[in-house]
């Protein structure tokens, strides 16, 4: 058992495609924190986020063959798997039932804002706080809820073109935010 090896992007991808368990272990150690962060920002509940994280890494291991480096970096691929899995979880019956229960609990015990506030301070949630309200709503619906532009146009009752423009403008600020 030597020291933990480090990988560059290509080595890591090749090792994972070769089903190298040590590379997978490295991948988990290196990226689980970031992916757990985005999952938690979408599903809000740590218990649910933990389940989604498990599903995400299982899928990374099983579907690594489908990863195409030409279309983007490994982290981008994993980030999108995480976001999609989180949104799928949001739309699942179990999750919606548990959220209803959570709302009842919140009403009874005077709300559960602590978790929300905590998440607002990190990552993309923090970025949301920097946006103008009309932009924030659209990013919230598009990125964190997973609605298509068409769906958002209907929900917000604004033209599809306006939805696209506002979202693009908001995302352009993200580049500045990340600097």
């Amino acid at each position: 058992m030597g020291s933990t090896p480090t990988y560059n992007e290509q080595e890591l991808t090749s090792a994972l495609k070769a089903k190298d368990q040590q590379a997978f272990s490295y991948l988990y150690d290196h990226y689980s924190g970031s992916l757990y962060s985005i999952i938690l920002q979408i599903v809000k509940s740590p218990e649910v986020a933990s389940d989604v994280l498990q599903e995400v890494f299982v899928n990374i291991w099983r579907k690594i063959e489908s990863y195409d480096p030409i279309k983007g970096r490994l982290f981008t691929w994993m980030l999108n798997i995480s976001r999609n899995a989180s949104i799928d979880m949001l739309r699942s019956k179990n999750y919606q039932n548990s959220q209803k229960n959570q709302e009842i609990t919140d009403n009874v015990y005077g709300g559960n804002q602590a978790t929300q506030t905590n998440i607002d301070g990190i990552g993309l949630s923090k970025f949301l706080g920097k946006l103008r309200p009309e932009q924030r709503v659209l990013i919230e619906l598009a990125y964190f809820k997973g609605y298509t532009h068409d769906e958002i146009a209907q929900i917000e009752d604004i033209p599809l073109g306006t939805v696209k423009t506002r979202i693009r403008n908001a995302l352009l600020q993200l580049r500045e935010f990340l600097k």
Partner: protein
């Protein structure tokens, strides 16, 4: 739209974050393949995004990794083996505690048992000493009895001798003690003289009884003797010829001539 405007249109961010429509995505991939600047801009944003996320890590639950590995049927990573080894140490420490406790109990038990056995041993030693003393006493008594029995047997044997002449010596009229009596057993063959004191008073310390043989009217010394406890035949001097025997009380060691005033008993030899 030229390439630079395309890069700054927000399509890169939309595509990377998964917000672009399928049509937009397909167009963007063609642009990346066709224009190196687009691809470079995309990678720049991806790296920026990854670094931003890496700064905003949230620690997932500790058991998450092992759950994932076990769902996939993979071996646990070397790093996660270390905490797994820890619980093994706990029962070992516990087992050592039990061993230590058991040893202590055994030690205390052993010490107590040793004290008990030592006590028992001392008691047995004392008992044994008593028995040895008692046995010695018995053996000593036995020795005394044996000696006495031997002397009695000797006496009886002498009395049974058919050649033995028995001379009874009753108290003389002028005897200081009228109850006095003695008997001489005289072997007529070997001429040995034995005396049995039936009754004589205890003499003063400076005095001693003396036996006389009367030969042809003259007293002949037959030896001095002390009174012995119990029954015994005392062997005195050989007398070859005598008509009578008598006992007087003389000075210690005996006299050449008897003090006739102190004659206690006398008896004639019959046959």
């Amino acid at each position: 739209m030229n390439v630079q405007d395309y890069i700054l249109s927000g399509i890169i961010e939309s595509y990377v974050l998964g917000l672009a429509s399928p049509e937009e995505s397909a167009e963007f991939e063609r642009m990346c393949a066709a224009h190196h600047e687009v691809l470079a801009a995309r990678e720049a944003f991806e790296i920026q995004l990854e670094q931003g996320f890496q700064l905003q890590k949230l620690e997932p639950p500790g058991e998450s990794k092992s759950r994932i590995f076990s769902e996939l049927g993979l071996e646990k990573s070397p790093a996660s083996k270390i905490p797994l080894a820890k619980p093994k140490l706990v029962p070992r420490i516990g087992f050592a505690k039990y061993i230590a406790a058991a040893s202590l109990i055994l030690l205390v038990g052993s010490v107590l048992l040793n004290f008990y056995l030592l006590n028992q041993y001392k008691k047995q030693i004392a008992k044994n000493d008593e028995l040895i003393a008692a046995q010695t006493q018995v053996a000593s008594n036995n020795q005394v009895m044996q000696t006495k029995l031997q002397s009695y047997e000797n006496a009886i044997s002498l009395m049974q001798n058919p050649l033995m002449s028995i001379v009874k010596m009753p108290s003389v009229p002028k005897s200081p003690d009228a109850s006095s009596m003695a008997t001489v057993y005289w072997d007529t063959h070997s001429k040995d003289v034995y005396l049995l004191v039936n009754q004589l008073p205890k003499p003063l310390p400076n005095k001693q009884y003396q036996l006389w043989a009367i030969v042809n009217g003259k007293p002949v010394d037959a030896g001095v003797f002390d009174l012995e406890e119990g029954f015994s035949l005392m062997k005195l001097k050989n007398i070859s010829n005598a008509q009578a025997f008598a006992i007087t009380l003389e000075k210690k060691g005996g006299s050449v001539n008897p003090d006739l005033s102190a004659m206690y008993v006398m008896g004639k030899v019959t046959g």
